[in-house]
Symmetry: C2
Subunit: 424 residues, 2 copies
């Protein structure tokens, strides 16, 4: 997985304790319609974000004592009623459909919502109940195929417009703030290979390989043999064609199959951006695959979007962008490793790198809007803009994290004493 | 806490899945007494360690097809019956009391037991039941005072014989394999300060400060003000005297109180080697203390012995060395952070550094044995040798881990993009 925007007008979950005080008051000008009062209440529940709302009635609902960060115009009763009924899904939907207008920076708007969300009161019992009634898409073998198809098979050309040269659709690593997207994606791949201390002649299994870039990078620059698994038909076709063109088909095998069907023994196991699609209920099973895939001196790395605490994926993202996806807390991720006596060597949180990666993606996306609109339509453009902008906000506000977890089999003492080798 | 030896003839727990095959067979020479057959059965349950046992009857019970790593002589029926009744406590007790003899290297013996233990079958229902009946010492406010008093108040002079100049009784950090103990302890303190990016004028609260060395180091080299909490009377007296002597009493305040009574707001929270004494049931409460102690750009570090998966402390260690102690898995440690929306930035596993630290301690301890025997007695010497040697084995075999967990408040974006600054 790549980037999943968190709470586009999200309420927080019951797992986190409340740590902040009361949200600030709001002022209403131009009358007090019933709908206006309902919107005020919703905004209170959302932690009173510093955003001004302008209704078709002429009402302005604005924060008191500070300038609003931006303005949202809701030009019809229908749009507001939809938002009031299910703001988490209908607000971003209304934006995608052009039924509301945003004046100001979309990323800032979403950051403001996130920061407010963090100080919002925990949802009521009813709110939690309704949240629990949402049924995310399941990750059975067949379910996962459908879920992955929904996102990754919408066209390789579309992704090539804004992912940069590497076609890497995961968080990059910026050794310096001014690194380009492509340089940062290469740096990420090297960072992961160095963490795993890959040596020529070794074998690696990759679970979820995207368009195959990382497998080729490992083969070319670290001299390893790679078997890379992926259930996205389009991605595997693209990756195979590329491996053949680059003369690496003998070193890299792409297997169009589920990670659960991985067989064989390898020196290392790696998975970049797949865990978000696995589902917590399958983590112990994933650990079984890791454990049976590794020899005595085995090690591996899992790179995934995560959370500070367990919380469901924002429902609009789950519904429109990433069906079946779930970013786990580090505690939840430990269910992969602990049952199998796998030893955690190193965890690095790269959330600010993902914000930067997404800024680069969004800029390329905006430059390609005319072409994207030709390929799809204006609604698709606004939907993806919302998703990318919301993801930036998720990472800058700490709503989302990015964990790289390096691990080894229990008795592996061939691990470096320090991490200095990563930085020389 | 410092170093807690794991399974001195330990059985493994139910939390870990079995990953290995059948233990090898054993050969018996010199007859088959009832006691000999019972010992054989015990050794099978322990994963058939490559150790030879010689009984008072003349029986030799040895591994088949390989040279034993070392020999244990059990010269009386009484000693064997005790071991058979409760090997986890009575085997190390018998060693401490001089009722058994070990021929060969004690660390190697214990490593062999650990490695065998990892391939041993999971304990039977009865074994688990008996394990659950053991009641470790509790960590209420009063219980913690007693537990800490038991270990840390046995005499500052004793500890000064083998901890080196720094009196730091926690895992050191060896930037190179040939670093001395004192250099490695200084490097550890700098490593932690750099991870936390301490700046002059900032304030730090330390939970569990030992003999006060780290608080002084932070004050002297990083220009911060420190309040350091500890419930060990002897340690606090020592630390205060030292701060005064070194002219740092204005910058460092030692408070003889429980971490639960920490008040005030600080830029950073640090705790090195206290978590082992907290108890998992108190982790969320510890997180509450951390959370209320930190401002918006707060960050901190917890350094603790840990596990690959949840398992009780080896019962002899819990009984004789560290009452109330428990090394947690990383998943369990997350109970400190997740309820409070604290963000994990970095986890580093230093288990091989603790093995090296312990080797240095054991060598200094052995050199001081005549003095220690004067201060206490021969039984005390053998008990501490068993504890230190077993701890080395715990870390070299991956039975124990050492985690440094760096964290920050959720909205803290003042964190460095990379960890390169730690290595330049």
């Amino acid at each position: 997985m790549n980037a999943s925007n968190e709470s586009v007008m999200n309420s927080t979950t019951a797992t986190r304790r409340e740590v902040s005080g009361q949200p600030p008051a709001r002022e209403v000008t131009g009358g007090h319609s019933f709908e206006g009062r309902m919107l005020e209440r919703l905004l209170e529940r959302l932690g009173a974000p510093e955003i001004e709302f302008q209704l078709w009635t002429g009402e302005r609902i604005a924060p008191v004592g500070c300038e609003p960060v931006c303005r949202v115009r809701i030009p019809s009763r229908g749009a507001l009623l939809a938002i009031l009924a299910d703001h988490q899904v209908r607000f971003p939907d209304a934006y995608s459909e052009g039924r509301i207008e945003i004046e100001g920076d979309l990323v800032q708007l979403l950051e403001t919502l996130y920061v407010a969300g963090a100080r919002a009161p925990a949802p009521s019992g009813l709110g939690r109940l309704l949240g629990n009634l949402r049924r995310p898409h399941v990750n059975t073998l067949a379910g996962s195929r459908q879920n992955i198809h929904h996102h990754y098979d919408i066209g390789n050309e579309f992704y090539s417009l804004w992912l940069g040269e590497t076609m890497a659709y995961t968080c990059a690593y910026y050794p310096s703030a001014d690194a380009t997207l492509d340089a940062a994606q290469h740096a990420k791949m090297d960072h992961v290979c160095r963490k795993m201390r890959l040596r020529p002649g070794e074998t690696v299994v990759e679970a979820g390989c995207g368009w195959g870039t990382f497998a080729l990078h490992m083969a070319r620059h670290y001299g390893v043999k790679v078997r890379a698994f992926n259930i996205s038909r389009e991605q595997v076709a693209y990756a195979r064609e590329r491996a053949a063109r680059e003369g690496l088909a003998g070193q890299v095998e792409y297997v169009q199959d589920d990670y659960r069907n991985i067989t064989g023994r390898y020196d290392a196991f790696v998975s970049i951006g797949m865990l978000e699609h696995v589902g917590v209920e399958n983590y112990e099973g994933l650990g079984a695959v890791v454990s049976r895939s590794l020899g005595d001196n085995g090690r591996g790395l899992i790179h995934s979007i995560g959370r500070n605490y367990p919380a469901p994926l924002q429902p609009w993202i789950e519904k429109r962008i990433f069906p079946g996806a779930y970013p786990a807390s580090l505690g939840q991720m430990m269910r992969i490793f602990e049952p199998w006596d796998l030893s955690i060597l190193d965890v690095e949180n790269l959330r600010l790198h993902y914000a930067q990666t997404l800024r680069h993606w969004l800029a390329l996306f905006e430059a390609a809007v005319p072409r994207v609109e030709q390929m799809f339509d204006a609604r698709f453009v606004r939907m993806w803009r919302m998703y990318l902008a919301g993801s930036i906000a998720g990472f800058t506000t700490g709503t989302l994290q990015l964990f790289q977890v390096l691990f080894a089999t229990r008795h592996n003492n061939e691990v470096p004493m320090t991490r200095a080798h990563l930085y020389t």
